[in-house]
């Protein structure tokens, strides 16, 4: 067999097939891939930056000089002597036993799991299972019995445990005394005050009493509300969520006559069309959508069906990154696509769609060059060809109701309603308009018609549009605010009441699909007494039952029946057997849709003087999650920016407005990183409708031009250590310019430089596997159909991904297709061979752990990162530390842009990378103290107490997955700034990193409670990395031994990232067990070893991403093996000589950007994954290819 297994050089591929039309450099299957502007330009300076395993300044103390360092340290040296003496004694360690009351189920040392549900902001819920250690909740998992979660979870529910242990929580009520200012008070004080205060409302029926509550789907709260309003009939009730996009609700109301939620069955859809809807993120059924859509993308056999996703969007969303065809269109112009698609579909299905045809005939839109007729035609053809009930169309959350209505009409015309789309009723509160509510309350306050305003878990003083002037108007009434965290509203309220977190209160939730779930406390209120919203309302209404448990149980009697058995069962399962609402196929009213379409007028495309401004909700939602440090440090979609919300524009728009990042220039964007040390954005003034705010501007390739996206939830002024304070806010508050209406997109925005620059911390260039190629691999479905068959099995080889010596399809796409079989020089001691384990060797005995990550299903949501952070006690490091490249997350999700056009990349790929647990681990060989070594089950273990912090291992790791504790992030009070104790001389140094460890404030007791007791909390100077959740592996081993099982069965336990992943992209298990899921995934033809050609023999494999392009819009690359690199003898006639000459889409403004000038057209620019310019950096490897190219000699 030849060493070169690349089919393009093998005899089986005749020269005829090689001699094909010139390469299509498009949609990533042949184009370069890059993570940032700097990488795109690939300058020398930037390569220097990348070649350091930590950025140049990561290991330096910035700020004060060495001299001041010595000065500060001197003080601590002086203290050192006295402080160390007691250290010689063995500390007296106490064990406190239970006393009289012994909880029956608690087994010390073993966690207990309880089901509850997490109310999603703005309605909907997730069912979760909470791990508690001796009554202390530490980790949130998805509830396998809950139809939304099915065991999976979102970043929000994962991070919600931080809210419970937030050191900035309200600890007791406070009263704003008119004369003496804010005073600490107690609930008894409040009870006494409120009894008197509410007596007047009892007499006048509640005249002047207004309640503003958060939006929540909870039958119990609805019942308590009804009782409250019965007691105070003239009181007004409003619900409000500043992050709400009500277009979808109103759209359903127009089309079907009643408000509701759309539910998709994406697993049944062949064609999915999303008009600006990020359906896998931040909507109540996002987990379902992600799971079902991923199921249609993860093709395992070469004949598997695969769905196709068309995306028209303004930003660059997670769903957009999954799309097969993606157009970037300004948000105000998306409606034009809805109309045009509807017309094109009606044309094609004719008579059946007469009703819709007449409806959209009434609509109109201003023509523009951004309307891609070819795209619309091909899309309509595809929709019709898919057959009735086989497609899904959806409109984005921020789109107006009319666009949604048209889309409902389209779904009806295509027969999707009842097949792939159904509708579910929503509660009255859910269906109301938040924008109208807040405007009404502000108006009533202004007019003096409110005497008492009761606010339940809302923060309008921060998040209401500034034009309502809510904070000022609040002072006209007596205000009572119930809140869990410190916030802007409670801090200026007459009464601030400390509420309970959902993990410490009773309640219930209704999920998007109508599933009813209980909320049960995991722990008694930490700052007792504290009360939930239902308890407070019951108390104010003077009810006899004011205990949360009794209130909920009372309401459930009417919902599920008066049976204790059912109630206990529901608490156990976390799901009630009886849903509140059931989804169904509703019938649209075409007349109403026509009416709505007539109202719709789509103006011309925005220009640089009249920008579209979209107000998006990011991970902070409306700001309520701002104090959740994990979410702050989770890189944002696309930009990978952390701890900030710069206004996002496309690179072209930034150039047109002269607001490109500091140092950025098209010719040498790397100056951004190398010149100002850290990237800086330019600060601009964003103006809409006469209101202006200052905001830094950052670029996001692939966004629609002349569009600005601003994320909500930042710039908190009263929040906490993480979320910001008046002196040190995190990001910018968009409420300053947000319009008061329901519309989430404003036209006519202006962006002008305000002078000044602003530090941006983005992780996009950190941990780069620079100079390596074939990292992220993708093919078109056509190629998978052609090459995805199982090759002849020559020899068993479990460890090495494929079941035969013949390389898998995915491996052939990379370097291994060109190299001789990977054989080391030395025997691997555990394999007792240079290659695969010998029979009888340690690695030939199970279990041998391995993981597979499917790039086809990965949506890039980052849930794995948060789940890992929660499970493994990974600290956050703050914005400044992140800018230096010191972030600690063990699993990162790399984001790559694909394509030649910097402003309009063809696609975005996500690739989660954690330690891959190499069998031949480069890190182990360089550790001078054996702190990292291999376990018998194939894991690469880290022994923290041995580590002396040389960081050699991180240097030698080709995957860049090792993280170093530069400071005591884990055990000291740290959220980007250390907190020094009072005894710091002179108030402490300017650079907080210079506070000596001894003088740093230790973590609050409450913050420490979130730590997982099964994992060490690492301290300064220690290297750490993914351990394959070895605490779970070990626990499973012990458990199976105790139960007398012979081995650990597949699926007996899950690792944290796998357990959380909403799209089931991560598989973990014993690779030797042939029936295990992971063994099957590794044997699959799509499986490849990341950087496998280095002979590291990684245990984590990745699976090639498959795209399913429409041949009309982009000819799929059927043969991904065509590329240069086999030596000169065929490089010039058959491969890649004319990569760009006759790109059929050269004139296509949106589609594949095959028209950038390639820097190296000769070699490899036609190959799927070889970025020729990168290969330059790996000279040794390039040399080996040249030698082999001649040596192989099979080529005819």
């Amino acid at each position: 067999m030849s060493h070169d297994q690349c089919p393009s050089t093998k005899g089986s591929m005749t020269p005829d097939t090689n001699r094909r039309e010139p390469d299509r450099v498009n949609a990533g299957r042949g184009a370069k891939y890059w993570r940032s502007a700097e990488e795109y330009a690939d300058s020398g300076e930037f390569r220097d930056f990348l070649e350091r395993e930590f950025p140049a300044h990561a290991s330096e103390l910035s700020g004060p000089s060495r001299r001041s360092f010595m000065k500060v340290m001197g003080a601590s040296f002086a203290l050192a002597g006295a402080a160390t003496i007691p250290g010689c004694r063995r500390p007296d360690h106490k064990i406190l036993s239970f006393s009289r009351q012994v909880p029956e189920d608690v087994i010390p040392g073993k966690p207990l799991y309880y089901a509850t549900s997490f109310p999603l902001p703005g309605g909907g819920a997730e069912g979760v299972v909470v791990e508690t250690h001796e009554g202390r909740p530490t980790k949130i998992e998805g509830n396998p019995l809950h139809p939304i979660n099915r065991g999976k979870s979102s970043v929000w529910s994962q991070a919600s445990v931080l809210g419970l242990y937030d050191p900035d929580r309200l600890k007791q009520p406070a009263y704003q005394n008119p004369a003496r200012g804010r005073l600490d008070a107690s609930w008894d004080d409040f009870a006494a005050w409120s009894k008197e205060h509410f007596a007047t409302y009892g007499a006048n029926g509640g005249e002047g009493l207004v309640v503003l509550a958060d939006k929540r789907s909870s039958p119990t709260r609805d019942a308590v509300r009804d009782r409250f309003l019965k007691k105070f009939p003239k009181a007004r009730w409003f619900v409000y969520d500043a992050g709400e996009s009500e277009g979808a609700t109103r759209g359903v109301e127009i089309a079907f006559g009643r408000p509701g939620r759309e539910l998709f069955s994406l697993s049944k859809a062949k064609v999915v069309v999303s008009l600006d809807r990020d359906f896998v993120e931040r909507e109540p059924a996002a987990l379902v959508n992600a799971r079902e859509f991923a199921a249609t993308r993860a093709v395992m056999g070469s004949t598997d069906e695969m769905s196709r996703l068309y995306m028209v969007e303004s930003g660059f969303s997670h769903a957009g990154s999954l799309a097969d065809h993606r157009l970037r269109v300004a948000p105000s112009r998306i409606g034009a696509y809805a109309i045009a698609i509807a017309r094109a579909v009606c044309e094609r299905i004719g008579r059946d769609a007469a009703a819709l045809a007449s409806a959209v005939a009434a609509a109109s839109f201003a023509p523009g060059s951004d309307i891609d007729e070819k795209f619309i035609g091909a899309l309509a053809d595809d929709l019709v060809a898919a057959g009735r009930g086989n497609s899904v169309l959806m409109a984005g959350a921020d789109q107006p109701a009319e666009v949604h209505a048209i889309v409902h009409g389209l779904n009806a015309a295509l027969g999707n309603i009842g097949a792939t789309v159904s509708y579910c009723q929503m509660s009255d509160d859910d269906a109301t308009s938040s924008a109208a509510a807040i405007a009404a309350v502000a108006e009533m306050l202004g007019a003096g018609r409110v005497t008492t305003l009761l606010m339940l878990n809302v923060n309008p003083a921060y998040d209401a549009p500034a034009s309502l002037d809510f904070a000022a108007r609040m002072s006209k009434a007596t205000t009572i605010t119930l809140a869990v965290d410190a916030n802007e509203t409670e801090s200026v309220s007459t009464w601030s009441l400390n509420g309970t977190h959902y993990l410490e209160s009773w309640g219930d939730t209704v999920a998007a699909d109508g599933t009813l779930s209980p909320v049960q406390p995991m722990i008694a209120p930490i700052y007792a007494p504290a009360h939930s919203d239902i308890e407070l309302m019951a108390m104010l209404a003077g009810e006899s039952v004011t205990d949360g448990h009794d209130i909920v149980k009372g309401v459930w009697k009417t919902l599920v029946g008066d049976s204790d058995k059912v109630w206990r069962r529901a608490l156990h399962d976390g799901v009630s057997p009886k849903p509140v609402f059931a989804a169904g196929a509703w019938t649209p009213n075409m007349g109403a849709i026509a009416e709505a379409a007539r109202r719709l007028s789509i103006g011309p495309a925005p220009s640089k003087d009249s920008l579209d401004v979209a107000f998006a909700t990011g991970r902070m939602h409306d700001g309520r999650f701002a104090n959740y440090a994990w979410l702050q440090e989770l890189p944002a979609t696309g930009t990978m920016v952390v701890w900030d919300n710069p206004a996002l524009v496309s690179p072209a728009t930034a150039r047109a407005l002269d607001l490109e990042p500091v140092g950025f220039s098209e010719s040498d964007p790397s100056r951004m990183y190398t010149k100002p040390k850290y990237p800086h954005a330019r600060v601009a003034t964003l103006t809409i409708g006469g209101r202006a705010m200052q905001v830094p501007v950052w670029i996001l390739p692939g966004m629609a031009d002349n569009t600005v996206v601003v994320h909500q939830g930042y710039g908190r002024r009263v929040c906490g250590h993480v979320g910001g304070s008046e002196a040190d806010p995190v990001g910018f508050n968009d409420a300053a310019i947000r319009p008061t209406g329901a519309a989430r997109v404003a036209s006519g925005g202006k962006l002008a430089s305000a002078g000044g620059t602003y530090l941006i911390a983005s992780t996009q260039n950190h941990w780069s596997m620079e100079s390596r190629t074939a990292i992220v691999r993708a093919v078109d479905l056509a190629a998978w159909r052609k090459f995805g068959d199982v090759p002849p099995v020559l020899e068993k080889d479990h460890i090495y991904a494929n079941t035969s010596k013949e390389l898998s399809f995915a491996e052939k796409l990379g370097e291994l297709g060109h190299t001789p079989p990977n054989i080391g020089i030395y025997d691997n001691p555990y394999n007792e061979s240079k290659v695969d384990p010998k029979p009888g060797a340690r690695y030939a005995k199970g279990p041998q752990w391995g993981m597979t990550i499917d790039l086809s299903s990965c949506t890039g949501c980052g849930t794995c990162t948060i789940a890992c952070q929660s499970e493994n006690n990974i600290p956050v490091v703050g914005k400044k530390e992140t800018a230096k490249g010191r972030e600690m997350t063990w699993i990162r999700v790399d984001r790559y842009f694909i394509g030649e056009d910097f402003n309009s990349p063809d696609a975005m790929y996500h690739q989660p990378v954690a330690c891959v647990h190499c069998e031949n681990a480069p890190c182990e060989t360089v550790c001078p103290v054996n702190a990292t070594s291999h376990g018998v089950e194939g894991t690469n273990d880290m022994t923290y107490n041995r580590c002396i912090g040389t960081r050699y291992c991180a240097n030698n790791c080709p995957y860049k997955v090792r993280r170093f504790n530069f400071f005591d992030y884990g055990v000291t009070k740290f959220n980007g700034s250390y907190y020094g104790k009072d005894l710091m001389p002179g108030g402490g140094p300017k650079n907080v990193n210079l506070i000596p460890p001894r003088l740093r404030e230790k973590l609050d007791e409450i913050s420490r409670m979130k730590m997982n007791p099964d994992v060490t909390v690492r301290s300064r100077g220690v290297m750490e990395k993914c351990s394959y959740c070895i605490q779970r592996v070990n626990a499973a081993r012990v458990e199976t031994k105790l139960q007398g099982l012979t081995g650990i069965p597949d699926g007996f336990f899950q690792v944290a990232c796998q357990q959380a992943c909403p799209s089931n992209a991560i598989t973990f298990g014993d690779v030797l067990d042939e029936s295990s899921k992971v063994a099957k995934a590794r044997a699959n033809q799509r499986s490849y070893m990341l950087l496998g050609y280095l002979n590291t023999r990684p245990r984590t494999s990745h699976m090639v991403r498959v795209s399913n392009p429409n041949p009309v819009l982009r000819a799929p690359v059927e043969d991904p093996f065509h590329h240069g690199g086999h030596g000169e003898h065929h490089g010039d006639d058959s491969h890649g000589t004319d990569s760009h000459g006759s790109d059929p889409h050269g004139s296509d403004p949106h589609g594949s950007g095959g028209h950038g000038g390639s820097h190296d057209a000769g070699h490899g620019s036609g190959h799927s994954f070889f970025d020729s310019r990168k290969r330059r950096a790996d000279e040794g490897y390039a040399l080996s290819l040249r030698v082999l190219g001649h040596g192989a000699g099979v080529h005819a």
């Binding site: 406190l96 036993s97 018998v936």
Partner: protein, 231 residues
């Protein structure tokens, strides 16, 4: 003219070399002996609250099984400290005849029970924080007696640390059990019978077939890789 260096100075290099050697040896031997857990951990006997708990009487004389108080030790990694209610199970005032009631000795227990308060027992055996969850249950299941790590508890009026609990000491067993299982393994039903175990371990012969059978029952060898305990 006087010599700059007197003659005896010739001895200095030799003396230094020899003295240095002795000093090095002293440091090595000293470290070896004194700076290991076997020296500074073994014998650790903190003062327990109240009158303490006399294992010699309860577990020895009265023959109460370890698991009567250390519940769930067969299920969990922790060998649970008994709750106050367990003590009161026997030591409730009305339970014992007045003649047998050790009144003042158990007053601290009764007081704690009356106040629903904990008793602050002092921990004797403690592994460092970077050793995670020593699994008691797995060891008991495998047939490692309490005696092997905690010594003859039934003869201790006040519990002290009998073994060093250092990593080398752990590995002595994890490595040695394959060659001589009789030194470490006892039938699981005898694990808590410390008198029997002590006698058995001192009399058992090398190559004992029962010990070999117990070893063969283990699903796999005791782990020796770092990740088994450090994570």
């Amino acid at each position: 003219m006087g010599t700059l260096f007197p003659k005896w100075m010739n001895m200095v290099p030799t003396a230094l070399a020899m003295g240095g050697g002795v000093a090095t040896l002293a440091v090595v031997v000293g470290t070896w002996y004194w700076a290991t857990p076997d020296y500074f951990e073994v014998g650790y006997m903190p003062k327990q609250p109240g009158s303490g708990f006399n294992h010699q009487i309860h577990a020895g004389k009265l023959g109460i099984d370890c698991r009567y108080c250390h519940t769930k030790v067969e299920q969990s990694s922790e060998a649970n400290i008994p709750n106050v209610a367990t003590c009161i199970g026997c030591h409730a005032e009305e339970r014992l005849a007045p003649a047998f009631d050790p009144k003042e000795k158990v007053s601290f227990i009764r007081e704690a029970y009356a106040n629903d308060a904990s008793v602050e027992w002092r921990r004797v055996h403690k592994l460092p924080d970077y050793v995670r969850n020593f699994p008691h249950a797995a060891h008991i299941k495998a047939g490692v007696s309490c005696y092997s790590c905690h010594g003859q508890i039934t003869a201790m009026p006040e519990v002290f640390q009998a073994e060093g609990l250092g990593m080398g000491w752990c590995l002595d067993c994890h490595r040695g059990v394959e060659k001589s299982p009789e030194k470490f393994l006892v039938p699981p039903d005898k694990v808590t019978n410390l008198f029997w175990v002590e006698q058995h371990l001192s009399t058992v012969k090398k190559g004992d077939s029962e010990a070999q059978r117990l070893f063969d029952q283990l699903r796999d060898n005791p782990p020796q890789h770092c990740g088994a305990c450090h994570y």
